[in-house]
């Protein structure tokens, strides 16, 4: 199948990358992204904008991490913060909806949850079923905030971490919530994903874990390119790997353009 190339360099938004030091250094001479190193990497790779969460929001406490993310993007219009949340019922938010409104007023247009029960010591322990039971996602569904969900116990590695039954529970409870599933690497999950994609049009897939042959293309062919969101997982993943996977994919320029930037922009612009 022949496909056309882009007529000009494409608009690219990295929807899934992070600032801050994690549990260990990324490399001996690179401890993790600060704003400068992230912008440098974006410049070199041709990435226009990025949506960032902070390592603290996943490995320590979301409230602390979200503030660190805001400091990281300060004065840098190419970066946008993604806030992480805990269950509404955890009693850690005086008024949960006010916390979300504050985020909105400060420019936040997407959120992330890391619901990995048993993650300790790699992260905080939570349960997506408890999030749902507590009504955590009601405000996100009403206001159409995109929510990234990453079940990975080790945020720097892993394979097939997704709890598909818990994901179904969330999607069934909130059919209008734009959910973006993140996987470090999808392998066996490729046989579970089709049924969930069939049943839940509000499910999107972040692309950095779709290494397998034609896995990215298969999703676009079967369910539409609008279900895919480009992310790099930088600094833990080669940006070249994540980017080459999409730019060289066997898809039309229009489809690749949606994946690289169009879809996440559309979702963020729809937030009320």
């Amino acid at each position: 199948m022949d496909v056309d190339s882009f007529a000009a360099l494409p608009d690219i938004v990295d929807a899934y990358c992070s600032l801050g030091r994690w549990k260990r250094p990324v490399a001996a001479d690179f401890y993790g992204h600060d704003t400068t190193s992230l912008i440098d990497e974006m410049d070199q790779k041709g990435i226009a904008q990025a949506i960032v969460h902070h390592s603290l929001s996943r490995l320590s406490h979301p409230i602390d991490g979200n503030e660190q993310a805001m400091k990281g993007i300060e004065g840098e219009p190419r970066l946008h913060a993604c806030w992480s949340i805990l269950s509404k019922a955890s009693r850690e938010y005086p008024v949960f909806e006010e916390y979300i409104e504050d985020a909105f007023q400060r420019g936040v247009r997407c959120f992330a949850v890391f619901p990995r029960f048993g993650a300790y010591p790699s992260g905080h322990d939570t349960s997506v079923r408890e999030f749902v039971r507590a009504g955590t996602f009601v405000v996100f569904e009403e206001r159409r905030f995109p929510v990234f969900i990453d079940f990975g116990g080790d945020p720097t590695g892993g394979t097939d971490d997704t709890d598909w039954e818990a994901l179904r529970y969330l999607l069934e409870a909130h059919p209008d919530l734009p959910v973006i599933l993140c996987e470090h690497r999808l392998r066996g999950g490729s046989r579970l994903l089709p049924g969930v994609m069939d049943d839940h049009p509000n499910l999107h897939i972040e692309t950095s874990g779709l290494w397998n042959y034609m896995a990215l293309e298969q999703i676009a062919w079967q369910w539409g390119a609008d279900r895919l969101i480009f992310g790099t997982r930088s600094p833990w993943r080669s940006v070249g790997l994540a980017l080459g996977m999409v730019t060289m994919a066997c898809l039309s320029p229009e489809e690749r353009g949606l994946i690289l930037a169009g879809n996440i922009r559309r979702l963020m612009e729809a937030v009320q």
Partner: protein
């Protein structure tokens, strides 16, 4: 922005470049779906990106002793798509008596070399059958690729200088050995981590690194992106994506696949 970098971002066919792939699979996989996995479909994707040819081997023998079945899948693929796929014979040394006859049988079928994945098969990486298998590659001047070479690699590099040893996966830790032995080649599959390719190339001989896609396990762009978009000289990238493997083919007397028709 350099030309190869720009071509990758634009999603352009790499016309005018020589791409040869040292690590690819054909067949079905136990663990996941492989869309468009037929040899003709895989070759069509190679043509789209201008990948001239690839060393190919099976999946079946990774998890079973039925290597002959998988080798027949490869032989059939090479017949169905002539002069694109260069088969490597997989053997499973846990089934000791099958090994040498299968190597001979597949050589008769036109296979170009040997593929090992003993670490998955449960055979020790210093097991005694390596002597015979590496000796076979030495005798026939063929490439021999192992998913992961063990601690005796240097001994075998010395004893079997006519065998061309290929690391199945990205292994910059072999840089010192590569400097000392011309018959050791490092496959790029897969620079997963941040700037892993750039960091590895600081130490590795640029004339002994070969791009391996891991198709049809992995998508082509996954392996090409980290090379084409790397902060590395363009001429080094060109060596890695094809020129080095062309040298390997010439060393082994394996006919290089032709360029695709424009």
């Amino acid at each position: 922005m350099t030309p190869l970098h720009k071509q990758c971002l634009l999603g352009e066919r790499l016309s005018g470049e020589l791409l040869l792939d040292c690590h690819a699979h054909i067949g079905r996989h136990a663990d996941y779906i492989i869309p468009r996995n037929q040899p003709e479909e895989l070759a069509e994707e190679m043509r789209r990106l201008n990948v001239r040819g690839a060393f190919v081997f099976q999946f079946t023998g990774v998890q079973t002793g039925e290597v002959a079945y998988g080798n027949d899948v490869i032989a059939d693929s090479c017949c169905r798509v002539p002069r694109r796929f260069m088969g490597l014979t997989m053997v499973n040394p846990c089934f000791e008596c099958d090994v040498m006859p299968e190597l001979e049988r597949c050589r008769g079928l036109g296979f170009a070399g040997v593929k090992l994945i003993t670490s998955y098969q449960g055979y020790p990486d210093d097991g005694p059958l390596f002597e015979a298998i590496c000796g076979f590659a030495h005798e026939h001047h063929t490439p021999i690729l192992n998913h992961w070479w063990g601690s005796k690699l240097e001994e075998w590099l010395q004893r079997f200088p006519q065998a061309q040893f290929i690391t199945g996966h990205w292994d910059p830790g072999r840089a010192e050995l590569v400097r000392r032995y011309d018959n050791l080649w490092v496959c790029t599959c897969l620079p997963i981590a941040h700037e892993s390719f750039e960091i590895g190339m600081r130490d590795l001989r640029p004339d002994r690194v070969m791009w391996g896609s891991d198709m049809s396990d992995l998508q082509f762009g996954v392996g090409l992106g980290p090379i084409l978009l790397a902060r590395v000289d363009e001429e080094v990238k060109r060596r890695v994506i094809g020129l080095n493997m062309l040298e390997l083919l010439e060393t082994c007397g394996i006919p290089a696949p032709d360029a695709w028709d424009p």
